[in-house]
Symmetry: C2
Subunit: 272 residues, 2 copies
Amino acid sequence: SPRVVALMNQKGGVGKTTTAVNLGAALGRMGYRVLLLDLDPQAHLTLYLGVDPEELEATIYDLLVDDEVKAEDIRQNIEGYDKLDVLPADVSLAGVESELADKVVTGAAQSVLRTKVRPIAKEYDFILLDCPPSLGLLTINALTLAKEVIVPMQAHFLALQGMGKLFETITMLRQGFNPSLLVAGIVLCMHEGQTILAGEVIGDLEGFLEGARGTDEPWAQAKIFEPPIRRNIKLAESPSFGQSIFDYDGGCNGAQDYMKLAESVANHELVW
Amino acid sequence: SPRVVALMNQKGGVGKTTTAVNLGAALGRMGYRVLLLDLDPQAHLTLYLGVDPEELEATIYDLLVDDEVKAEDIRQNIEGYDKLDVLPADVSLAGVESELADKVVTGAAQSVLRTKVRPIAKEYDFILLDCPPSLGLLTINALTLAKEVIVPMQAHFLALQGMGKLFETITMLRQGFNPSLLVAGIVLCMHEGQTILAGEVIGDLEGFLEGARGTDEPWAQAKIFEPPIRRNIKLAESPSFGQSIFDYDGGCNGAQDYMKLAESVANHELVW
Ligand SMILES: Nc1ncnc2c1ncn2[C@@H]1O[C@H](COP(=O)(O)OP(=O)(O)OP(=O)(O)O)[C@@H](O)[C@H]1O
Ligand SMILES: Nc1ncnc2c1ncn2[C@@H]1O[C@H](COP(=O)(O)OP(=O)(O)OP(=O)(O)O)[C@@H](O)[C@H]1O
Ligand SMILES: [Mg+2]
Ligand SMILES: [Mg+2]
């Protein structure tokens, strides 16, 4: 059965979408069968891969609010890979919280994505979930479906502040909807390794993770994945061509970093 | 009466908080009386200015949900300025949407901030509102209180995608809660002017804004403010010291850019 990984961080603009697309594409190039889910009403993952949300008849919004709609009805195939598919989003996804409000108390609103993705999950080796910059219902649906969490972040002070709340949310999910949810690790994005700030933030993170080793915290097996993803303007250019970094400029730093990251992620098997 | 400016963009990590703090501090150094509001449950503006949200007895959350709490009860003064105050946030602000859900249909939920800030507004020349990366109730409260909107953004492809939705939201606010709301302009943040991507994005933006000149669109008077704020690691370091860029490193590019931006903003008076 597939590894199901949520790319989550309520801090905005840290590299969640860029990591979901390019880690996914790298795993695809390694021969894994990959499904990407766009759970952000901004539909940036969908746009990044060159899919026009306005031309789609149905998206993840319909999957979540319409009992008749199945995952395979909305699935889009990305050309050039053995099996790289996406469940696309569009702006109407912003309305899902109010649409499902009366189903929150029973837990149906939080687990609808898990129910809808389960029938196609076994076709894949990796399922990556791109989350919006919030801890609302869409992120909760991702954490209910996911088996593991990867946290994209920048080695900046403000980004570090939210980690406590992020880990607290994961602990709460384990109490209710998803008792086996684990944190796989942290991916450093837009990394400027030579700065003092980066060194300090990484020191803080490593100290925190080392302190949890051997405990039963959900992040006891988490690590900072190597390599960090260096800041590289090609990664900001590739979405405007609707291409992953590999199709846009396969030789650049961004492509090298994400390919190595994919190998690290593939090799970091968590123990439940 | 004060200029009331919302720093908003639903795209995450574009420089909203960094701009609210440092534009505010620059206006303060120019002698203006400035009030900053932190409307993000991440409480990043509060943290940036060295205020610890966990030590506060009451924050903007209490202002919004408790009829007894007044703005002056939660106001914090920032030392070193004639008059630079902040209405701080804390994580409990994330609960405000559900707390006020039954007041949405009447419009009370969307206008509570305007009601609560009105009594102290006349003490200030500028009131800056830092918004979270979403178009939910907190941002709507900001747009109901504000007279003008400044959009911090990066000159990146993904950031450009959300402008349509952002402007659509402003148009909708004008139909209901705030008929005189206008877009003052765009601030380019973390700017890397030498990249082709930046040139293309700026070209798109300028074309769009020039096309609206003379129309009755809310962005007919909007411009791209000069100068762009250059990428500068000191701007990412200063929050870890709880200081604005001027107190942290007054001679750096970041301090120069924000001081010049403050002059541009102060001189760009909209006509209603
Ligand atoms: N390594 C990198 N080097 C340069 N630019 C990058 C890099 N990674 C991402 N970017 C750019 O930085 C911006 C933020 O990245 P991205 O949109 O992936 O973050 P996000 O966490 O998904 O944002 P949001 O919180 O809005 O969903 C984008 O414009 C993206 O193109
Ligand atoms: N000009 C700049 N140069 C370098 N780093 C910057 C600059 N402006 C902001 N930053 C850093 O980039 C990150 C994003 O900025 P900031 O937090 O202000 O964005 P935001 O739009 O408020 O994010 P959110 O959507 O999460 O509220 C922060 O870590 C900040 O320190
Ligand atoms: Mg994203
Ligand atoms: Mg912010």
